[in-house]
């Protein structure tokens, strides 16, 4: 059997136009040996989950800098579960107030990474937590 690769969707939900972080991370993930599908801006949760389904993604990475995380992040988790994709690891980042993080984690987002997080930490977390299929 050939070597397995981590496949990750990087998506920007909602109308948020801050894409520097998402683009940077896409490059970092590829450099870490992952296969990265960048979906671009203005994604609905349905579009993100459909991409995860068709691409058979191991990880969905959500980036939000416009304060829409409390709605969009849990919605993506919910739709993934509805599509029998509960095994997909969901991580997020961007401008997320610290007090929102416990609720997001309770709702199924595995981890949240704010500005200044070293990319090694992010890559390390994903590699350690991705589930096999």
């Amino acid at each position: 059997m050939a070597e397995k690769k981590i496949k990750i969707i990087v998506a920007k939900p909602g109308l948020d136009g801050h894409d520097r972080g998402a683009k940077l991370l896409s490059r970092i993930f590829a450099e870490a040996g992952m296969e990265v599908v960048y979906t671009g801006l203005r994604q609905t949760p349905e579009m993100i989950v459909e991409a995860a389904l068709q691409e058979d993604a191991d990880v969905v990475g959500l980036s939000s800098l416009s304060g829409v995380h409390n709605y969009f992040f849990p919605k993506v988790v919910e739709l993934l579960k509805a599509k029998k994709l509960g095994n997909v690891l969901v991580v997020g980042g961007g401008i997320i107030p610290l007090e929102d993080i416990p609720t997001l984690k309770k709702l199924g987002i595995a981890e949240i990474f704010g500005p200044g997080t070293s990319t090694d930490t992010i890559v390390g977390f994903i590699k350690a937590n991705v589930k096999s299929k």
């Binding site: 059997m1 070597e3 590829a30 990265v36 960048y38 579009m47 991409a51 068709q54 691409e55």
Partner: protein, 321 residues
């Protein structure tokens, strides 16, 4: 409960199609029995290949053709192949960005794939993915691949109609047309026609096509289509050319001939791949290959008699004449 992947694929379940494609990519054993069972249900989809240099607009065109096909209520499967980095093994697969308007449409299934440095196996897993989409009931399957190197020529053997995308301002077209495009293109698309130099490029390509068809006796002369994919201009001409080529293939009997050749080649390639895999696995398992290398280094053996030994050992029948 276990999922019956074959039944699910035949019902067009995206979950099952996606998972079997992953198995194909990983050369996971589970793929084989599935592929065997779905095989009788393949051969119905029409396969379109779109190739060209990076950034020429292949994904944007794929999006446009998909839109046109959806308007005719045809379902579409897309396989977009992008290169893996030979250094990190990772890949940035950006083709979805251009196709977001279809991402919530159940009539479209789009899969991004990285080349992963396959040894001649790229065509094999692309073929596999096409079969999965075909068995899943997609009317059209579009394969997008970068460049026109050897691998890509391979991939284009999977397609019924092959389209080569060119754009103005990308250097010497005539040069790149020598490198084998003339043999594989059924349709030329001159995209980015809004850019300077488009008319000149169009004329150059048209000239080459005319020249070529006067040298060789060709029953199909590749049309040259002008498009501005970002504005959707020329998409209908493009689809018309595809349809014309399909009609030509069907009416001339060339489609059957093409598919027969494909099965011939594919079968040989699969046998090659499997024999090689088995022998490599055995030779590496007990480090025999290392011993052989050592002995070749010491001039006790040479690669020629090593090959003979290996073949004699595992394929003795081949020596019984």
């Amino acid at each position: 409960m276990d999922i019956d992947y074959v039944a699910e694929i035949l019902e067009g379940s995206p979950l099952a199609m996606a998972r079997v494609m992953t198995w194909l990519e990983n050369e996971d054993e589970r793929a084989r029995s599935c592929m065997e069972k779905i095989y009788p249900h393949t051969g119905n989809a029409y396969v379109l290949g779109i190739t060209g240099s990076p950034g020429t607009g292949k994904s944007t065109l794929t999006d446009g053709v998909t839109w046109q096909l959806r308007n005719k209520e045809l379902t579409v499967g897309i396989v977009a192949v992008d290169p893996s980095s030979p250094f990190t093994g990772g890949a940035l697969l950006g083709d979805r960005i251009r196709m977001t308007r279809h991402s919530a449409d159940p009539g479209v299934f789009m899969r991004s794939m990285a080349t992963r440095g396959y040894l001649g196996g790229l065509a094999q897993f692309t073929r596999g993915a096409v079969k999965v989409l075909d068995a899943g009931g997609k009317d059209f399957v579009i394969i997008e691949t970068v460049g026109v190197g050897q691998d890509e020529v391979d991939v284009m053997r999977v397609a019924d109609t092959t389209c080569v995308v060119l754009v103005p301002g990308l250097g010497d077209v005539i040069q790149s047309m020598k490198a084998g495009i003339m043999e594989i293109a059924d349709i030329y698309v001159i995209n980015k026609y809004d850019r300077p130099g488009a008319d000149q490029l169009f004329a150059e390509v048209q000239f080459r096509v005319d020249q070529d068809s006067s040298i060789k006796d060709r029953s199909w002369v590749p049309p040259v289509i002008a498009t501005v994919a970002v504005e959707g201009k020329g998409e209908d001409d493009f689809l018309e050319a595809i349809t014309a080529h399909r009609t030509y293939l069907e009416q001339s009997g060339k489609l059957l001939e093409k598919r027969r050749n494909r099965i011939h080649e594919e079968t040989l390639q699969m046998i090659h791949h499997e024999l090689f895999r088995i022998i490599r696995e055995r030779l590496t398992k007990d480090s025999r290959i290392e011993q052989m290398v050592e002995e070749i280094m010491n001039h006790k053996l040479n690669p020629y008699n090593v090959v003979e030994k290996v073949v004699d050992e595992w394929l003795p029948a081949s020596r019984l004449k």
